[in-house]
């Protein structure tokens, strides 16, 4: 499988948008972006124990005049819900990049409930949702989402579909009974 370009393109978009803090819960789909963030001395990469920490971090960064972005997997969206009231009340921007599980060729049934609920849950919490399904649309979509979030001071999530990322392979060959 070829290494996709879109993670590096996201990194470039975030840099151009002036993002200086990147918070994340480790995730295979974001692995390349996380590595790039740690390698860049002009960025502060913050590893979280749970995704909601990153919502609060982003609001604190904004208070201090700095832009933050938050990387997570769809399962982590469910951990964020009450904390989303923080940027909403504060008219603080929030940019979330969410790698999707539980929707395209998913092997692990435990990923399906939250994966299927992700978009509805975000919209219910007043987060604007974009969804990227092809590699070519990722960079312009993240750039637009960043502008929307930071300029209009709203919460925006870009869902990176599982079809784009590729279903996680647990077994190399054959089918289970």
């Amino acid at each position: 499988m070829n290494t996709p370009d879109w993670p590096d393109q996201i990194f470039d978009v975030l840099k151009r948008a002036g993002v200086r803090q990147i918070a994340y819960v480790p995730d295979a789909g974001h692995a390349r972006l996380i590595t790039r963030a740690h390698q860049d001395p002009s960025l502060q990469a913050v590893v979280l124990t749970t995704e909601e920490e990153g919502i609060a971090l982003a609001t604190g960064a904004w208070l201090g005049g700095v832009r933050a972005a938050l990387l997570m997997q769809s399962s982590g969206v469910g951990n964020c819900i009450n904390m989303l009231s923080l940027p909403a009340n504060c008219r603080a921007p929030l940019l979330m990049l969410v790698t999707m599980r539980g929707e395209w060729g998913e092997f692990n049934p435990w990923q399906v409930p939250m994966g299927q609920a992700t978009e509805a849950v975000l919209r219910a919490a007043d987060v604007i949702v974009h969804r990227a399904s092809t590699a070519g649309e990722v960079a312009p979509m993240v750039a637009a989402a960043a502008a929307l979030a930071y300029d209009s001071r709203v919460s925006v999530a870009v869902l990176l579909s599982q079809r784009l990322i590729g279903a996680k392979q647990f077994v190399t060959q054959g089918a289970a009974p």
């Binding site: 200086r20 803090q21 502060q44 913050v46 590893v47 979280l48 124990t49 749970t50 909601e52 920490e53 990153g54 919502i55 609060a56 971090l57 982003a58 609001t59 604190g60 960064a61 904004w62 208070l63 201090g64 005049g65 700095v66 933050a68 009450n82 904390m83 009231s85 923080l86 009340n89 504060c90 008219r91 603080a92």
Partner: protein
Amino acid sequence: MSAGLDRREAVAALLAGRRDFLVVTGLGSASYDVAACGDRAENFYLWGAMGGTAMVGLGLALAQPERRIMVVTGDGEMLMGLGALATIAVAGARNLAIVVLDNWSYGETGGQPSHTAHRVDLAAIAKGCGWEDTRTIVDAAGLDQLARALDRAGPIFAVIRIAPGEKPRVLPPRDGAFLTQRFRAKLGSAEP
């Protein structure tokens, strides 16, 4: 076990003469205690988002490395976001202090005992997360030492044992957008 310090006097002692501190407060009595010392633009009060106060402090601390950031919150609010103690220690911000006002109970909801009433030790948890300076303060001498430590660089996690009981409520502004804009304007980062 001592009766505990007076929460208003303890917070006032920490903030007195430290007008340059950026202060983030957790919902409930911690916000009222800081507001009782005088509302100011450099105070950011959470009225909800329980469990998020310490992480707001971290985002701010990383964004403003030249300033001292002080988080003031309660034991219940801190307990809801314990993972933040690990995250903050790993992030390594040198300018963040967390002060937990510990009355062993949930004051806003009727005084139900919190986990600290059952011997959960917040300072020990912070120490286990890698915080360099952790302390539990039970008397005026300890409070004075904490106040002086706040004036030096370095991360601090302090639990102050305070007496149970409600104080008269001093309600700070609760419009988050107003508080945010006022705070940013004070730091020179407000946008048109």
